[in-house]
Amino acid sequence: MTRLIAVFEFRSAVAKRSFWLVTILFPVLILALSLGTTLAGDMGAPSLEEALAPSGAPRGYVDEGGLIRELPPGVTADTLPSFATVGEAEAALGRGEVSGFYIIPADYVESGELTLVQGEFTPLSPDTGGPLMEYVVAYALTGDVATAAALVEPTPDVEVTALAGEGEPAGAAGDGAGSFQLVPFAVLFVLFFVITTSGGYLLQSVTREKENRTAEVLLVTVRPRQLMLGKVVGLGGVALVQIAVWVGGGLLVLSEVTGMVDLGELGVSGWLLFWLLAFLLLGYVAYGSILAALGTLVPSQREGGQFMFVVLLPLLVPLWFNYVLIDQSDGALALALSLFPLSAPVAMTTRLAAGDVPLWQPVVALAGLALTAYLFVLLGARVFSAGTLLSSESLSWQRLRSAVRTAVRTG
């Protein structure tokens, strides 16, 4: 009987158009967003080398204190024209010969203040700052090219070696913010969305039958626990299909874009996959049983929404602090989030994907999650009873509390 229900739930969820829409649209959206951030990453302030070869109309300068006696080698009057007065520079700007100009005041050495007049006002654009003027001024003050360049960019490239993995350099760190870590982000989002969407389906499927009174008919032949188990198993299958589509699609796109993909190269090991599956499974069971129980308590889907948000809150928190989990994966906050059973499915897996985690931590987190899942299944099964399934009372916090209390007491 349980199998029948599971198969039915699986089929009816997969047959929905909206399921495929979400399954296919979601990666497209994420891809578009990450493309946006990658491009944005490329749009950081230009390096000195790039600034020395500007494209488009150059910027000029007005040197009111006579600070700049000579331009550094590599900078010519074509790339950085000089004007005697602000009026002349404004005229050149009006004619379109320059895109803007700097004003270096006579007291620059004391104040350090520069004014940049722009024809097209774009203060937030990355090349508005640009190191060219800093370089020219530093050269004027020091008279030495190498020193001026080093003052602008003291550490243009650093070759980093990790003692832990001696022999294989951790890679060269450019002046950028470091490479974008794809795998941890992917793990974070995929686990979060798989658990929340499949949990959402579960809630929906219970409330739907409650709303249209099918539950009354069903309960004639099926015991409540069988019903719940069938739904959890069937929709768990749906979650697996979703994850298969996303991971498969992601790998396909990656291999199309970057040629052959070696999972090991991306930092994905067999152990990581094992942990992912374990956390996904237990996380789904824990949240699924709570949401299914919630489904029996609410009279309509509309009211389920706000309670669902509260239930899913522990999963949302790691999403907000994703940078903590990935950048400071040894920090106290990251550790707390990844050990707390309700946020562990997302937080611990993200940390595992981001770097080395001592073995005891995922083991403890998984054990805690397993215990929580077990308790939630017991609790959910007690709430998921004929009485609650057939009532149409509206849900309040009081009622929720009393339902949980009776469920605990009857156990």
Binding site: F121, P123, L163, G178, V324
Partner: protein
């Protein structure tokens, strides 16, 4: 008119009493504050471990560290080691968090090597060591010049016509105000418009609309509902606005840059000018959807798409900031559903040409007016249809018929 007001009052009170709305009104700003606070704590907390270095160039003498100007770097402890081996041993022993090796002929050769215990080099250690190197380079010059060399120029960016002037270092704050305003207004609009959809479909679903139709005209009903929900949005924005003003007033006492921030009156004007038609457009679309679908649940799927139409500029924030007068930014400015948010985002990044502002406003107002005109007619056609969707063709027929003479 009294009937219209009565409907408005009913809808306003019905939703304003809900706990979920209260939660949204108070919760969104609280959540934002919380996220910012935690972010600040994380950025501040976590002391950087000591940074070790091996310097055969002799640039980094014992007195250099005391001259560093950068606050974060000055708080870092730098330890010198005679050889790479000694430094690595210290790193292995946990005395230092990272080790830098400076080339003998620095600054001619600027390719540094670095060692970490495990993983990548932290950005904090790297920028601290960069400040240390700068101090070492500057130490060879007279103190007045050295001071200047260690700090990047403080650039003020000015528009050629003198209309705008921004200190590049605090540009972030100038960007924050329009950005926050854009997001808060859009959230308020989208969430309250959701209530409007509910207000329209609720009575249709429970068949109350049949009784209502005997004493209230469809126009009164729909306009009253819209008015009530607009009241909710106004309440929401008023509470958030007061909260923001209070936050700024308190913050200005402690943070100097905040106090120097001028009140963005011109921005406020633009916000109001664009928000009103944008909100009317969204509200009218919601009424049409609520009337066209027999059930709330079905209409909600389409609502998601409509909301995305209003949120699209957020996906392109980076493009808009880096190229604020590019074709994408202009296109998003002119497209009615995205113009409100795009204008706000561009506001801090550039001076938006007046013709674009004017054209965008006219397009937005015209679209808004068209939907406001259509909404009561669609509502009238759809309100008594149960179980079947109002097809696009039927909606179109209704609108054509309505043009001959609105019988509302």
């Amino acid at each position: 008119m009294t009937k219209l007001l009565r409907v408005a009052r009913y809808e306003y009170l019905r939703f304003i009493k809900r706990k979920s709305l209260l939660l949204a009104i108070l919760g969104v700003p609280l959540l934002l504050v919380l996220i910012v606070l935690v972010g600040v704590l994380i950025a501040r907390g976590g002391e950087e471990p000591a940074v070790g270095y091996v310097d055969p160039s002799g640039l980094l003498g014992p007195t250099v560290a005391a001259t560093i100007r950068d606050d974060a770097a000055r708080a870092t402890e730098f330890r010198s080691y005679a050889s790479v081996e000694a430094g690595r041993a210290a790193l292995r022993g946990g005395e230092i968090g990272s080790l830098f090796v400076v080339p003998a002929d620095y600054p001619e050769d600027r390719s540094l090597r670095a060692f970490t215990a495990q993983g990548d080099l932290s950005t904090g250690a790297r920028s601290a060591f960069a400040a240390f190197l700068e101090a070492g380079l500057a130490a060879r010059y007279p103190p007045a010049v050295a001071d200047r060399l260690m700090q990047a120029p403080d650039v003020t960016v000015r528009a050629a016509d003198g209309s705008r002037e921004i200190d590049a270092a605090s540009a972030f704050l100038y960007f924050l105000v329009p950005f926050a305003a854009g997001i808060l207004f859009t959230i308020a609009a989208v969430s309250s418009a959701g209530y409007l959809l509910q207000a329209v479909s609720d009575e249709k679903e429970n068949r109350t609309v049949e009784i209502l139709a005997t004493s209230v005209s469809p126009f009164q009903l729909v306009a009253g509902k819209a008015l009530g929900v607009i009241g909710i949005a106004a309440t929401q924005l008023a509470v958030w606005g007061l909260g923001l003003v209070a936050a700024f007033a308190i913050g200005a006492r402690y943070i100097e840059t905040l106090a120097r921030l001028p009140v963005p009156w011109s921005l406020l004007g633009v916000v109001l000018a664009f928000f009103v038609p944008a909100y009317l457009l969204l509200a009218a679309i919601m009424i049409c959807l609520g009337a066209a679908f027999p059930e709330y649940r079905q209409s909600q799927q389409v609502v998601g798409l409509v909301n995305i139409l209003f949120f699209v500029p957020l996906f392109f924030v980076m493009f808009i900031f880096s190229d604020p007068n590019g074709p994408l930014a202009v296109a998003l400015t002119l497209f009615p559903t995205t113009s409100f948010l795009t204008v706000l985002l561009r506001w801090s990044a550039t001076t938006v040409p007046v013709w674009q502002l004017a054209l965008a406003w006219v397009l937005l107002a015209a679209t808004g007016a068209a939907f406001v005109w259509a909404a009561p007619r669609i509502f009238r056609a759809g309100m008594l249809r149960y179980g079947q969707r109002l097809s696009l063709a039927a909606a179109w027929r209704t609108l054509r018929a309505g043009r001959r003479g609105p019988s509302a």
